[in-house]
């Protein structure tokens, strides 16, 4: 009896959490896509500065990580392909796994670490210092003011970062290809491009937009539900990172399955 009620309670809590995220994400989406036509203009200046933070400043670390990931993928693929004398398929293996899966996922994880946690910490601190309350007493909607610029920045920047991550991953693979598999740089890049269909890239980009929404919703929700006291900000930040990684994987699974059954791949 104890166990069933615990399982039931956990499931209900989980559903409640997803519901709260959906409601927050939905309101941010409303303010992004509908609000501007209903006399609630977007705060472009704040969105641009968020986009700089989320996107441009993530480039160095993201480039390095995805370059290494591409190199690792090439090494792992070569381990098996070499036995069949098919080392020239390394380019295909790297290009497909980067664009379809690892590019969007690694990008999301880097963005969670840099920005998802920062959203939770920033909004959580504002909650603790009554700044969120101050916004409300000034009749300024905290979702419109704080969450929407982040939401807009995320759904624009994550696909851009993902394209960049794909490119860097393929470059990482190319390093192996040129050094070990008798490719020239141009031949490797050409082989990668030839092996890709537009659909491969697009499914990755669709996923990255969904990841962006998930990360924003979780980071901001955790920030807004911060309790009293500085240590609660730390707790919210940790929860934001853990929950974001978990939910990004779940969203990834759902969309990969969706594309698989819808497209026959």
């Amino acid at each position: 009896m104890e166990l069933t009620s615990q399982v039931g309670g956990t499931v209900l809590d989980g559903l409640g959490y997803i519901g709260a995220l959906a409601s927050l994400g939905g309101r941010a989406a409303y303010f992004t896509f509908v609000g501007p036509f209903r006399g609630k203009p977007l705060r472009m200046q704040r969105a641009v500065s968020q986009a700089m933070d989320v996107g441009v400043r993530a480039l160095p670390i993201l480039s390095l990580i995805t370059f290494f990931i591409g190199l690792i993928l090439a090494l792992q693929a070569a381990y098996e392909l070499r036995r069949f004398g098919a080392l020239n398929f390394v380019a295909t293996a790297v290009a497909l796994s980067m664009t379809r899966e690892l590019g969007p996922l690694i990008t999301a994880i880097v963005v969670i670490g840099r920005s998802g946690s920062a959203f939770a910490a920033e909004i959580g601190t504002m909650k603790v210092t009554e700044e969120i309350d101050a916004l409300e007493t000034m009749a300024i909607d905290p979702i419109h003011f704080l969450v929407t610029p982040k939401f807009l920045a995320m759904i624009l920047m994550l696909p851009c970062l993902t394209i960049w991550a794909n490119t860097m991953g393929i470059c990482g693979g190319a390093l192996f290809g040129v050094a070990q598999a008798d490719f020239t740089w141009t031949r490797y890049i050409q082989a990668s491009i030839d092996s890709l269909f537009l659909r491969d890239v697009m499914t990755g980009l669709v996923k990255s937009v969904m990841f962006g929404m998930t990360i924003t919703a979780v980071g901001c929700y955790e920030g807004l539900s911060t309790g009293a006291g500085a240590e609660q900000v730390g707790r919210s930040t940790t929860r934001a990172v853990v929950m974001s990684i978990f939910l990004v994987i779940v969203v990834d699974l759902v969309f990969t399955a969706l594309f698989f059954f819808a497209g026959g791949h």
């Binding site: 504002m126 009554e130 700044e131 309350d133 409300e136 007493t137 000034m138 009749a139």
Partner: protein
């Protein structure tokens, strides 16, 4: 001295509370509050820690939802209106938070300008002038470009008052204006409240437990204890009140020991039910 309970608000009152009750989960914090605030008067809400005075203030500005009762502000019951109508009323009120609650990522000037940018169609140059004026009114001329972190505690409070004044509110709320300030700086904030009252004839509501400051700025006082109104009346009447709870608060008499022990025991057992983790600590203490 008793507040007269009515079903309808006084038509000339700025704020009327009728049987206001607020609960957090199971616990009721405010058990039926009734009083009126007249336009242009300064009402000080007094009470000890945990008396419910901060909850009362948060409910008055719409940050907490009452579980029952009515809150009439400028003729509208804010417990029963839509959020759009609430926003209308919020443009007519200003709130100065305990810690200032200035936005740390914006300069002092941008903080004061924010409500004007959000709710008016004024040009940037006009807003700049209003910001300078408001900062001058609180004695912070020339601090537009400072970040809140660069200001002292008293200056932060003044900047917060400037932001609360930005929209020329009809009602100004203060949460513990002198908390965390040394006596001289605190007296400066009291003076500021008096000056604002004189200059703009605003309705001012102050929540505090500082008696000296309360007696200086109040036209009327209301004493809250354990979620009930214990006494309400003009400052002089309250000063000479013979009601035991009022005298106890004003003369700073400690709670009788027996009551305190009972409360303490209750607190310990309540805690035990709520948190298993704290159980070992309570056992260790007893």
């Amino acid at each position: 001295m008793e507040s007269n309970v009515q079903d309808t608000p006084q038509t000339d009152a700025m704020i009327s509370l009728r049987d206001l009750r607020v609960r957090y989960g199971e616990r009721e914090i405010l058990h039926g509050i009734n009083f009126d605030v007249q336009p242009g008067e300064t009402l000080v809400i007094l009470g000890g820690s945990g008396s419910g005075k901060s909850t009362l203030l948060r409910t008055l500005v719409g940050l907490e939802k009452p579980s029952s009762g009515q809150i009439w502000i400028r003729g509208r019951d804010i417990a029963a209106i839509s959020s759009a109508e609430m926003d209308e009323i919020r443009r007519k009120i200003g709130m100065s938070f305990q810690g200032g609650a200035l936005f740390g990522s914006m300069t002092v000037g941008e903080n004061v300008a924010l409500p004007l940018q959000e709710h008016t169609k004024l040009e940037a140059s006009t807003i700049e002038i209003i910001v300078r004026l408001k900062l001058d009114q609180v004695g912070l001329s020339g601090f537009e470009d400072y970040m809140p972190a660069q200001l002292s505690g008293g200056m932060k409070k003044r900047a917060a008052v400037a932001r609360a004044l930005a929209m020329d509110p009809e009602i100004l709320f203060f949460d513990e204006p002198s908390a965390g300030l040394d006596p001289i700086i605190a007296a400066g904030i009291d003076q500021l409240i008096l000056e604002l009252k004189r200059a703009f004839h605003m309705t001012v509501i102050v929540v505090t437990h500082e008696l000296a400051s309360a007696f200086l700025i109040a036209d009327r006082m209301v004493l809250i204890d354990k979620g009930n109104v214990v006494a309400i009346g003009p400052t002089e009447e309250m000063r000479s009140s013979v009601q035991p709870r009022v005298r106890q608060f004003f003369d700073r008499v400690a709670e009788p020991a027996v009551a305190q022990e009972l409360d303490y025991l209750q607190m310990l057992t309540e805690d035990r039910h709520q948190k298993n983790a704290a159980g070992s600590r309570i056992k260790g203490a007893s």
